[in-house]
Symmetry: C2
Subunit: 243 residues, 2 copies
């Protein structure tokens, strides 16, 4: 049975201007691979209402689950919650459950609740809250879309909350073999091996280190024994080192 599919939407001008380098997509990719969920697509879009709505609609239709990152803070450029609501035709306003979570957090720290902070309690109707153990302001799940913070510590904590609630597939395991030969020297046999093992995927990643060329060959699949056997065949064929 094929694994469930997922996509991620990274929201924020700071990513597209190059000012901030996205770390969340790589973290999520690793977590989903371990959970047996197949991350098929990632998109970065700017803080633009129409762009977020269009991307959410396309991704939520095409994949089983969608994760978003960014744009749920208190400032004017945090427009994700409203865009998600629009994407699903849901209404959105300050919700009592989210407001209570924020109020309790601010009461503990002696921080004043103001209009800006109250924006973080804007949650679409029908959404389920996602706990934020770092700074209280919740994420939420609406339909098959999980809406999470952009700050990596908070994003990671929210992923930890969400993942156990999802139905995963067979985790994909991988083995790497590093060979001291260029890709062009291993391509023919690698291709034959890939054809002979259609249930596995074979990747080939050239590198150059200290002026020497080499290739990392990676076998991936759900059957650990088959992956192991294929890695052994790669070592036998190319004399490399299995890592």
């Amino acid at each position: 049975m094929p694994n469930p599919t997922a996509a991620m939407l990274v929201i924020g001008d700071e990513i597209l201007s190059g000012r901030t380098r996205d770390a969340n997509s790589n973290h999520l990719a690793i977590q989903l691979t371990e959970a047996g969920i197949d991350l098929r697509e990632v998109r970065f879009v700017s803080d633009d209402h129409a762009a977020i709505v269009a991307a959410v609609q396309a991704l939520s239709k095409a994949y089983d689950t969608v994760f978003t990152s960014g744009g749920i803070g208190p400032t004017h450029d945090d427009i994700t919650a409203d865009a998600i609501a629009d994407a699903f035709g849901a209404s959105i306003d300050v919700r009592d459950d989210a407001r209570a979570i924020l109020q309790a957090h601010y009461d503990r720290s002696g921080t004043e609740m103001n209009e800006a902070r109250l924006r973080m309690a804007r949650i679409p109707d029908g959404a389920t809250l996602i706990d934020n153990p770092v700074s209280a302001a919740p994420g939420f799940t609406l339909g098959n879309v999980h809406v999470m913070a952009g700050v990596p510590t908070i994003f990671n904590a929210m992923v930890e909350t969400i993942l156990p609630t999802l139905t995963g597939g067979a985790p994909v395991v991988s083995r790497s073999v590093r060979v001291d030969r260029g890709e062009g020297d291993v391509a023919a046999e690698l291709s034959a091996l890939a054809k002979a093992n259609p249930e596995l995927s074979f990747g080939s990643y050239p590198f150059s280190r200290d002026g020497k060329y080499g290739t990392n060959l990676v076998v991936r699949g759900q059957d650990a024994d088959a992956v192991e056997a294929a890695a052994a065949q790669l070592v036998a064929a190319f004399g490399g080192t299995a890592l």
Copy 2:
């Protein structure tokens, strides 16, 4: 006049599995921002023919220029060139100009040309070659799509070749102001400043370091004087440090 728009397509299973963290999109984002080209969207897709074709068609239609990264090597999983050709309805085969470049490179290094390496001379009809000063195998430009290698050193060299040929806009300059206050404390005034300066964009990025919360405020725009003036207003309002 609005700046030209661009999108990037990152191709490769190794990115979506989390094995490799994409570095090329951040590099390109920084370069395009300096050149006054507005990077609007980035997509990561896997080594899947249909996914690449669909993404290239969507992005090349929606934006002025598209850059792709990955999948142009000699192995069976390098399918980008054929997918780009299909996306434009162009035919593709080994081309003499690309083959001559590879042959000269292999002759110099005493490497044998074989069937796998010859795959890197598969270039769509009508495409212009992009020089690869690192390992010879060329990228290419077809329509408004620039097809480049995934290996960062080669990708960066190809970007350096392509960028001067593009018509840029006014470079976007930015100033950051670091303030020792949470986002919720600066949001109202920041929003007012954003409304008063519609030609500038104001971003707000919370951070926590050594247990202290703070916010980086970023002003971006094409008019350097206006950006400078707005940064001074931020410092006046929130007592932060302009960086």
